[in-house]
């Protein structure tokens, strides 16, 4: 019997459909269907100038929008061969890591709520407010920031930014320890997560899964360490992996990543030099191609831009990590029960905005 979970479903994190074939309680086949939120972003980008595309890339994944506009600016800077001033790089990295923590906290909130623990939802959202407030001080808005520009950032950091960021990092590290006690100490949480949705190393690499699910299956690959961009070579942090490939491993990887992000924010904010925060970019783009790769909170994001000598790009191609990870859902769901669907798909942290573009 084929059951449709979605597209209208209270807690499937976005507009997609999962068709599963069940035999009693066990899943024997699964087929995700996406495309309900397709907005034609790649075609839209061909009709706008390079600067006008930045707000559009914000809305690609509204859960972590700074990473996508930063990726776009990186790609265009690669195309136009622009060098970004160091102060802008440091501000960008601090903002991206704050966005990463906010995105992981939102994942944690939705995950806990799906599993039935509403306490986790409220606590994670409450802590996310702190980082959203910091980002609002930087850029003026809470969800889609429109903050990076080609050649730097839009505005300078506000006066008390360093002090507030350090305070936020201290607070967050205490809270992460509290969350680990709350979740790891709960036998029911462990029962629902351990051994569920196992994805082996070879499968993960073959299926194109990237990001925390890949690192949770034991592959040590983090784009910030292995193909560093921006000023990541000068920062001291570690990439986190976990040998089992189940839902608990993905949860652990994300919690540790939040800790590492706190470390990165501390270093970036304290090492920030004075100077210019933006270089003016040329209006007319050169002919050629530009490639950008970023470690998004959900995986490996890439952009490939082809310029043709006018002020509009010729082709913008966006690689979304969740698009490929969702295609691997079938391998992770076979053989488990219907009640595990929520845990498994929730552990992948799906954001449909970037899947469907």
């Amino acid at each position: 019997m084929w059951i449709n979970m979605g597209p209208q479903h209270p807690m499937t994190h976005g507009l997609w459909n999962l068709r599963i074939k069940v035999d009693g309680e066990t899943i024997v086949d699964a087929e995700p269907e996406v495309g309900y939120l397709h907005r034609g972003i790649e075609k839209l980008c061909e009709r706008r100038t390079y600067t006008q595309i930045i707000p559009i890339t914000d809305r690609l994944c509204y859960g972590s929008s700074l990473t996508w506009s930063h990726l776009y600016c990186l790609t265009v800077e690669d195309l136009m061969n622009i060098e970004v001033p160091p102060r802008a790089e440091y501000i960008r990295v601090a903002a991206i890591e704050m966005q990463r923590i906010a995105s992981h906290l939102m994942w944690l909130a939705a995950y806990a709520a799906d599993l039935g623990m509403l306490v986790g939802f409220i606590y994670a959202m409450r802590d996310r407010e702190i980082f959203i407030d910091l980002l609002q001080a930087l850029s003026g808005s809470r969800l889609t920031y429109n903050y990076p520009r080609i050649g730097g950032v839009a505005h300078d950091a506000p006066p008390n930014f360093v002090r507030d960021s350090l305070r936020a990092c201290d607070y967050m590290e205490g809270k992460i320890a509290e969350y680990e006690k709350l979740y790891d100490g709960s036998k029911v949480f462990m029962m629902r997560n351990e051994g569920v949705g196992v994805l082996s190393k070879e499968d993960a690499m073959n299926l194109g899964v990237t990001g925390p699910p890949l690192r949770a299956s034991g592959v040590k690959y983090d784009l910030r360490k292995d193909q560093p961009y921006s000023i990541y070579p000068e920062l001291d942090f570690e990439a986190v992996t976990h040998p089992d490939g189940d839902c608990y491993a993905r949860y652990r990887v994300r919690m540790e990543e939040m800790r590492e992000s706190c470390k990165i924010i501390r270093q970036a904010v304290q090492k920030m030099p004075q100077g210019k925060w933006r270089v003016l970019a040329p209006r007319i783009g050169p002919e050629g191609t530009g490639l950008g790769r970023v470690e998004d909170p959900r995986g490996e994001g890439m952009m490939y831009i082809v310029g043709n000598g006018t002020q509009r790009p010729y082709r913008v191609k966006i690689r979304s990590p969740i698009f490929v990870t969702v295609s691997a859902a079938k391998h992770m769901l076979l053989g488990y029960k219907v009640a595990d669907v929520v845990a498994i798909m929730g552990g992948l942290d799906m954001c449909i905005g970037e899947t469907d573009r």
Binding site: V34, G35, H38, G40, E42, K43, M205, N206, L207, G208, V209, T210, G218, V219, K220, Y221, D222, K225, D226, Q227, E238, A239, V240, T241, H242, P243, D244, R252, V253, E256, L291, R293, E300, M302, Y304, V306, Y314, R315, K317, R319, F323, V324, V326, S327, A328, D356, R357
Partner: protein, 167 residues
């Protein structure tokens, strides 16, 4: 080229190493040239860790199998399709986890025959990406397990990313 360590005990968190092999770009270039002397052209190092090559489309599947089995390129990152005035170009970005190298492999097809071999038998991650290229740009992939529209409705008649589709 394999840098992954032995499995840690269950429950442990591993930290990734930060070293890569010496000059993997040269090694890849030499190995590919040896295997496909006639069809591989235009080898260029874009920046540290990213190289580009062009290949003719009749050798594409062979080259991909060779990359995966012999040279250890385990992950296909992106499959893009670009339409120019006289040709289609299909760009494959393939990653090697062991040596942290990204290879940009470009194939060309003539304008009136946009078909290419599917690489989803080599990397299963290429499945949905090829479907997306078919859906939005109209590139047909031979031997694809399930070449259907994915982002647009199943009965949509056009390929929107083509330049002659004015929306």
């Amino acid at each position: 080229m394999d840098k992954r360590g032995a499995g840690a005990p269950a429950g442990a968190i591993e930290r990734a190493p930060t070293t890569v092999g010496e000059n993997p770009e040269e090694r890849t270039f030499k190995a590919l040239l040896e295997a496909f002397p006639s069809t591989l052209t235009d080898f260029k190092k874009l920046r540290k860790g990213i190289v580009r090559a062009r290949i003719e489309r009749r050798d594409l599947l062979e080259c991909c199998r060779y990359l995966k089995d012999k040279l250890g390129f385990e992950h296909i990152s992106m499959i893009s399709a670009v339409e120019y005035e006289n040709r289609f170009e299909i760009v494959y970005h393939i990653t090697c986890y062991g040596s942290c190298l990204l290879l940009e492999l470009i194939t060309q097809t003539p304008k009136d025959d946009p078909t290419v071999e599917s690489v989803s038998s080599v990397w299963a991650g290429a499945n949905w990406q090829e479907r997306e290229s078919y859906d939005l740009m109209g590139i047909k992939f031979n031997n694809h397990p399930n070449l259907e529209r994915i982002l647009l409705p199943k009965d949509f008649m056009y390929h929107p990313l083509r330049k002659d589709f004015k929306g």
